[in-house]
Symmetry: C2
Subunit: 258 residues, 2 copies
Amino acid sequence: MAAMSADITGDGARRDLFSPVHLGRVSGAIVEQVRLLIRQGRLKPGDRLPSERDLCESFGVSRVTVREALRVLEAGGLVEIRVGARGGAFVTVPSTERVGASLADLVGLSPLTVDDVNEARRVFELGIVPLVVERVTDEDLADLYRLCQQQRAARDDEDTSTGLSARFHVRVAGATHNAAIEMLVHSFHGPLLGSTREDQEVAPRTAGRGTREHLDFVKALERRDVEAATGIMSRHLGRGARRGRSSRSSRAVRPDTT
Amino acid sequence: MAAMSADITGDGARRDLFSPVHLGRVSGAIVEQVRLLIRQGRLKPGDRLPSERDLCESFGVSRVTVREALRVLEAGGLVEIRVGARGGAFVTVPSTERVGASLADLVGLSPLTVDDVNEARRVFELGIVPLVVERVTDEDLADLYRLCQQQRAARDDEDTSTGLSARFHVRVAGATHNAAIEMLVHSFHGPLLGSTREDQEVAPRTAGRGTREHLDFVKALERRDVEAATGIMSRHLGRGARRGRSSRSSRAVRPDTT
DNA sequence: CGCGCATTTTGGTAATACCATCAGCCGGCG
DNA sequence: CGCCGGCTGATGGTATTACCAAAATGCGCG
């Protein structure tokens, strides 16, 4: 230590400032390396990473460190870890589950309310209607009709019905042929609203009407009638909206100081 | 694209065999427990968790397991881990950064294109205009005017100008007084579009016009003129839209950096 | 044909050593 | 006498090694 400070004071000794790296954590470096490989496409979805023991040899670190890296990769939704003989870390295909989970966390951990998120969802699903009308294909329409049919057939089963309703809305978003929009709507309907059972309480009452509105909406889509489709969707979502708004006004404190 | 829709139907079908597996991992159980404590507010942002050694005693597990759990929590953005004497795991304040990072990852790791995300953003920002008109306050208007002024003052500095433009849009979203909407728009403008320098190329050309449109928009807001505001915003975002659509056809491999 | 064992691979534990950081103390120097 | 500066110890995360348990797959033997 004394030698080092003497070395620095000596002029010309600064040239060999070798990198004392340790840029944070070893496991973090591994994570970044694997993430980069995935981004570059050198690891494709479905590929299997080497086993933990092989990896710890390749990276020159211990097995626990590799496992920590795999954990954060798994938490990030980049890999899926299976145990057993043919197990290991498999690169997952990126899904909406992850961003959906993030949104769900956000609504649980922040001053976000379910009503706020619901309103955002309404805005979004209403806004995409023109795009849907513009781009909907015959195949999309066929799928939507099929979903309506299934929903009517299952109108007695609450669980299936609400699930089908969510799938209907996601399928509508899919008719924009924009993966980002589809993912976002999927996220909204997935872990976010599904986790709060609140909307399932009112579902039975409105299930019949909702199914009918779904069908009307598809018909308007088939006519390429933007205004009718928008109106139907607005009313369809508006019922939930009013519920949201009434509970909003009954909410005493809102954090507007943020 | 086909891979994605296949994935959506896929994870929908296997959701029920997904859950029981999750209960198997010890570190996962710890994660859930801590997450629950945070959700319930029994652990508030800024609080410090016990040390690893204490935790492994409380949970009755080994230190490695606790460390894995902490890694997952850290990767999920729920805690921040500091080393050193006063170190430990601190509960972080929830921010939009996280969901923004998730979106950024999604766009980098999935078949999502920047154009798709951009279109989603446009739909969303356009859809909230009625809400903004309905709920905008004098304070909101004052802030927006101030931002316009700053933007005009900094019209020579490209970097500052684009940054201010993003802040303007986020502030507009804030006028909905809906935290979810504000977060979403913030996420769109933050790490997502900011990371791709592509939109900054055209910014200088349209900077002047954009600033003027911002001002016109605020004026329409002040008059509570929904149609004018919507029209202005539609044109304002529409310019980017056309650019997006033309580049959509020429979609190729994304030169990912960062 | 089916049951079960062997193998592969992750899951978890324990002990140990090593950095990083900070608080407080203690001694030298102005 | 008072202040500055480094030393030291306590706290707490980081990483390694070695070892065992559980799970899933697949092959072989009965």
